[in-house]
Symmetry: C2
Subunit: 337 residues, 2 copies
Amino acid sequence: MQKEVTIGDVARESGVNVSTVSRALSGVYGVHVQTRERVRAVAERMGYRPNRVARSLVTGRSHTLALIVSDIRNPFFAEVARGAEDAARAGSCDLILCNSDLDNAKQMQYVESLLEKRVDGILMNSVWALDKKQQQRLATCGVPIVLLNRAAPRSAFCTITADNEQGGALAADYLRSLGHRRIAHLSGPKRHGNMTGRTAGFVRALAAGPRPITPVVLYGSNSFAGGIELTRKLIAAHPDITAIFAANDIMAFGAIRELIQAGRRIPDDVSVIGFDDIELASVVHPPLTTIHQPIHEIGKAAVEILLRLAGGVNKAPEHRLFGVSLVERQSCKRLNT
Amino acid sequence: MQKEVTIGDVARESGVNVSTVSRALSGVYGVHVQTRERVRAVAERMGYRPNRVARSLVTGRSHTLALIVSDIRNPFFAEVARGAEDAARAGSCDLILCNSDLDNAKQMQYVESLLEKRVDGILMNSVWALDKKQQQRLATCGVPIVLLNRAAPRSAFCTITADNEQGGALAADYLRSLGHRRIAHLSGPKRHGNMTGRTAGFVRALAAGPRPITPVVLYGSNSFAGGIELTRKLIAAHPDITAIFAANDIMAFGAIRELIQAGRRIPDDVSVIGFDDIELASVVHPPLTTIHQPIHEIGKAAVEILLRLAGGVNKAPEHRLFGVSLVERQSCKRLNT
DNA sequence: CTGAAAGCGCTAACAG
DNA sequence: CTGTTAGCGCTTTCAG
């Protein structure tokens, strides 16, 4: 690493004091236009690059945000990350990416490390219900945190999520309207806020109305592999199922894959509906009927809140709930009577 | 932001000098076991968190790496990012994520910003051929850079890629072996190193041998949408094509989608082969035959090189070429004669 | 083994 | 408008 040009070098070279250089380059008022231009020219010529580490040390702001997701390979989180990065960039911040693998301890390790780096804010889906101590730690860490799932009612965190319950209910009503009555639901890990919200909305909606239905509910990993595994179990235990609601699209992909493997046709033998509406939902065969949520928007909005919080604006925890909608494609079919 | 506990506070509280605290906490030798334990206890009790910004300022290492990809939503890059993050974490570094959108200027802006933040290394796919000035800037910026594509022969950068040419050749030989002779290739943007490597290998292999074939080659966006668009054009201009090699899997997805839309069956009417072997390749219908490359490995290896470079080990630009292989699934079929 | 002191590069009062 | 002077919190010689 060759020696960097510092603000002192620029000052010496332009015959002014470092503070003048600082002001000239920061674009703050209070500098003669002439000197400012001269300083800028010199800085340019010398290839001066301000050292943001030094700046951060004195200002206390690092202009860095962090996003902790369970796994960036999940297309849902990739889209969230993209929305978040776009917003971060717009706010001239960088985004550190962390993969928690749904591991509480690992997640907290990341948080501690990020706090030491003095990030200006953290965006995370606190995947498992954190214990009291951990929640306490997050709440009092002094750095703004926005959660991508519903938090405990009176928690101190801002949250931003899709309306999972409503989405679950939409799926339920849709399957019921198609005449299905032997229905299964593939959920994620128990205690996973978003997954369980979908499950709750789904079960509640099926239980409501004149002819209540009780679905078979299976819990497992909210991944492609999880979808496969749960579907295998499902077929073994309940071969007469006619419709499946998967808690997210990649689980639905897994379910479809396993169903086809087992010789079932979709949607002729079994209807499948997902949740998320990731880009690839329209790619699989058949195109997946699913619950749409504005993923990119969610990442973007979350960072915008973070930025506002980091600006020290207000403190009242804000909760945004994005609307969802049913996207009808070709993976569900009216039940043959 | 409540006031942070500093090393000075810990020093005062434990009745020693800051330098002793520093040594005690850094685990460096040269501290009496007793004092070290005492200091540690005090630090623990006070909830002391070292300020890494300050540390970085003096040590000159930020323990932060950056990854610039065109778009994290591309499952290929998500997997690269995961591999990179895993390796970064293993080396106790954080990873900043940037999306260049295949935009040269945007990419250079990121680089400048990252340099100001004094990242320890940058991992990027310099998507378009950079101009001389930009290459020069990167080569002399003083920060290790590893490229995810082949660079100019005598360039100063480390590169780590899959064997694109070989992959293209594998696809060519495979399609030819199935009896196809009217073959199309959907490539990415011209000048995109990896894409064009695949194209070159493909075209060359088809041109070789006793009965040379000249494929129809179309250039476009290396995305799902790009695959759709190119396929639409292809069908219009060359309706008699029997096989398509897409330069990556998501383009292949787009192609399949468009072919089905146009009433073609796969693989009965048209065979499709992709490149990358992303996880979802096995999910689409029919499961995609594709060229496998070790994506996670590539991200991981790239960061490991970066880490070694950041450690100031050696300077000789290293070039790693990962082997590829053909994964036969169900999207290609022997041509009916 | 430990303390004192000198910065890392920059910003931010405070004078002038 | 510009220079002086303190630090930000930490590591790292250099003495003792």
